[in-house]
């Protein structure tokens, strides 16, 4: 059982929805980023999505792209992202960390070595945007063998015919992408998302978490109402971009978390 599985079991027992927060590792710099990440559990975050910076984030909007650029310009690398996770783990052994990014830095590091290093750093799961089920042999299967969850994205274009393939090697939870589009763009609409989450849940026992296009506490609440939890990324990263202090960023995060947790 990974920390992710344990977290969802606990949430289920408490009858609560999950709030997942995304931040880019090393944005705006390593130390500030670590300070923010360390503060996330206290702000009510159930699962941390830690962005792995990449020069060419094809599924992300300008906010996340720029966050990645800031991090890279500040010298952030895959190794330093693992280091950040490790530093967080020293003070928190329960909050799950999901690393989210693109495949090339991982491939460049070497898959086996990466899995060993990620596990040692206290990473619990991976979301790799450009690895669909068709490429499962690359990282998904080895990751599951190494004891890391491989969390798949399901999208509005994932029809019933394709859904089983998407769910097949998924573990931890399913991440439903609420819109066709990039991060930080259109608003997620609960009345559209609800039936889709229900459709996915009919085919899996895994929790279904919804992300993309959730920007406010109220948005987090309405989406969490129709799913097992909500993810917010760009709206948080926006605050970091504006140069808000870690305390202010975390206060904003707390508002979002309260929103998601208010869902019944």
């Amino acid at each position: 059982m990974t920390r992710i599985d344990a977290k969802f079991a606990a949430l289920k027992a408490e009858g609560r929805k999950a709030f997942v927060a995304y931040v880019m590792a090393g944005d705006p710099d390593y130390d500030t980023s670590l300070e923010i990440v360390r503060g996330l559990p206290g702000a009510g975050v159930d699962i941390i999505e830690l962005g792995l910076p990449f020069t060419d984030p094809m599924a992300d909007g300008p906010t996340i792209q720029l966050a990645g650029q800031r991090a890279l310009e500040g010298g952030q690398t895959l190794n330093k992202t693992l280091e950040l996770a490790r530093a967080f783990r020293e003070g928190d052994d329960t909050t799950p960390i999901v690393m989210m990014g693109y495949y090339n830095p991982i491939f460049s590091h070497g898959v086996d070595r990466f899995l060993e290093d990620a596990k040692a750093a206290g990473i619990d799961g991976l979301i790799v945007v450009d690895l669909p089920p068709e490429e499962d042999v690359e990282l998904c299967i080895p990751a599951q063998k190494a004891g890391l969850n491989f969390i798949r994205l399901a999208t509005p274009t994932t029809d019933d015919r394709r859904l089983p393939k998407v769910l097949q090697n998924t573990s931890g939870f399913v991440y439903y992408v609420s819109i066709t589009g990039i991060t930080g763009s259109a608003n997620a609409v609960a009345t559209d998302v609800g039936p889709e989450v229900a459709r996915i849940k009919a085919s899996t026992d895994l929790p279904v978490i919804v992300g993309f296009g959730i920007k406010t506490p109220e948005g987090a609440r309405t989406i969490a109402e129709v799913a097992d939890g909500a993810v917010v990324g760009s709206a948080i990263v926006d605050r970091i971009e504006k140069g808000e202090s870690p305390a202010d960023v975390l206060a904003f995060v707390k508002g979002l978390a309260d929103g998601a947790h208010a869902a019944g």
Partner: protein
């Protein structure tokens, strides 16, 4: 070369879109159903005579195919060795080989009922070709172009606008061709229902590398027949320039199983491959990685971050290369070399003076390699080089490089 292990070099890709370890489908889940649809439609079209009838009709009457195979007599004399033939794809409508592929993809888009076409472009040649064919069929066309390229390729930007296309300057990342491709993918992920992504080279997720190669293979098919008619035999060496590698793949593919034909791809060496990445030679100076939907050789740092290429030619300015080239490189069926900006400029001038042909900077790289090897080859050695584009678009860049002080604004 492992002749005994491989019966044919022309069977790739496999059902997963792989050429050996290269290629594949490294895209987000949102796009996955779309590229599976595209693959199914392309497989259907490939064996549908009516599809090829339409292609052939337009290739003949709209593009002006077949392009001539031309014996470059004065160039041959000047170099004093091998006999040099130029495959004249620069004479195509819109001035480059790009339209061969665009026609195929747009016909396919129409068969799929797509009404909105998006494309990325570097030098603007693929953008112009796409805008052209969209105008011809009355389709909405949006071209993503790096802001930096919009500045240095103004004539092509104006052409696209005349043709009714919307040109979107891309400022994300560094505002270059790879960023334009990122933004085109972002558009596609957003507009999944009505939009067709017309990729300009033999890269991207499967089936693009194979599909674009198939459409461009008309170059090599014609060259083979024309060479048989002119010389009664196949050439000894075929040469083409490579950015993403579509004109080269188009020339090379029909010759892959003619094992006596030497195949040479010429990458953009920029200021020199040994200097700090001031080049675009992915095979000569890169290593395998994953970008834009496929595994291939890429310019990247130790952390797997993608580096910007550098070349005087905007059309070669891409940090990757088509996956089939990566495979041909690794198995040794084709050789890949790099030519610097300076060498390309010299070849550009030589071509103008000796043959009365103003070449694009891209094939000038191939020609520069021809000028290196031809003098030492016997007079009965035949070289066939793909003259994949004409140089009208490049005269301002060349003038600047040669210190002519001509400006586009004049």
């Amino acid at each position: 070369m492992p002749d005994d292990l491989i019966n044919s070099f022309m069977t790739g890709p496999d059902e997963n879109g792989r050429f050996g370890q290269f290629g594949g489908r490294f895209v987000s889940e949102t796009l996955m159903p779309l590229i599976l649809d595209l693959e199914a439609e392309y497989e259907k079209a490939k064996t549908d005579q009516s599809f090829w009838d339409e292609m052939n009709h337009l290739w003949t009457h709209y593009v002006g195919r077949p392009s001539p195979l031309y014996f470059a007599e004065r160039l041959t004399e000047r170099l004093g060795g091998a006999k040099i033939y130029l495959k004249r794809d620069e004479l195509n409508h819109t001035g480059a080989h790009k339209i061969n592929n665009v026609l195929g993809q747009i016909i396919l888009a129409r068969r799929m009922g797509k009404t909105r076409i998006i494309a990325e472009t570097g030098a603007g040649q693929h953008g112009v070709a796409t805008a052209t064919v969209c105008a011809k069929f009355g389709l909405k066309c949006i071209v993503y172009m790096g802001a930096h390229d919009v500045e240095r390729q103004k004539p092509n930007v104006f052409r696209m606008k005349l043709l009714g296309a919307e040109v979107v300057p891309v400022t994300s990342g560094r505002g270059t061709l790879k960023d334009a491709m990122n933004d085109a993918l972002r558009d596609w992920v957003t507009n999944v229902r009505d939009t067709f992504y017309c990729i300009g080279t033999v890269a991207g997720p499967h089936p693009y590398p194979a599909m674009v190669r198939d459409f461009q293979s008309i170059i090599g098919k014609e060259a083979k027949e024309q060479m048989m008619a002119a010389e009664g035999r196949l050439p000894d060496t075929i040469i083409a320039a490579i950015g993403g590698g579509s004109n080269a793949m188009g020339l090379f593919y029909p010759f892959l199983d003619d094992k006596d034909v030497r195949i040479i791809g010429v990458e953009a060496g920029g200021k020199g491959v040994n200097e700090k990445m001031e080049h675009c030679a992915s095979l000569t100076g890169g290593r395998p990685g994953v970008l834009h939907g496929n595994r291939t050789y890429l310019l990247q740092d130790d952390d797997g971050q993608i580096l910007e290429g550098f070349s005087i030619s905007a059309g070669l300015d891409y940090p990757g290369i088509g996956p089939e080239h990566s495979w041909l490189h690794d198995i040794g069926r084709a050789e890949y070399v790099a030519i610097t900006d300076k060498e390309a400029l010299e070849a550009f001038q030589l071509c103008c003076e000796t043959e009365g042909i103003i070449p694009a900077l891209e094939p000038s790289h191939a020609l520069a390699h021809v000028t290196k090897i031809a003098p030492d080859l016997p007079k009965d050695h035949i070289i066939c080089m793909n003259m994949c584009g004409r140089g009208d678009k490049d005269i301002f860049t060349v003038a600047r490089a040669l210190g002519w002080g001509m400006d586009e604004a004049d």
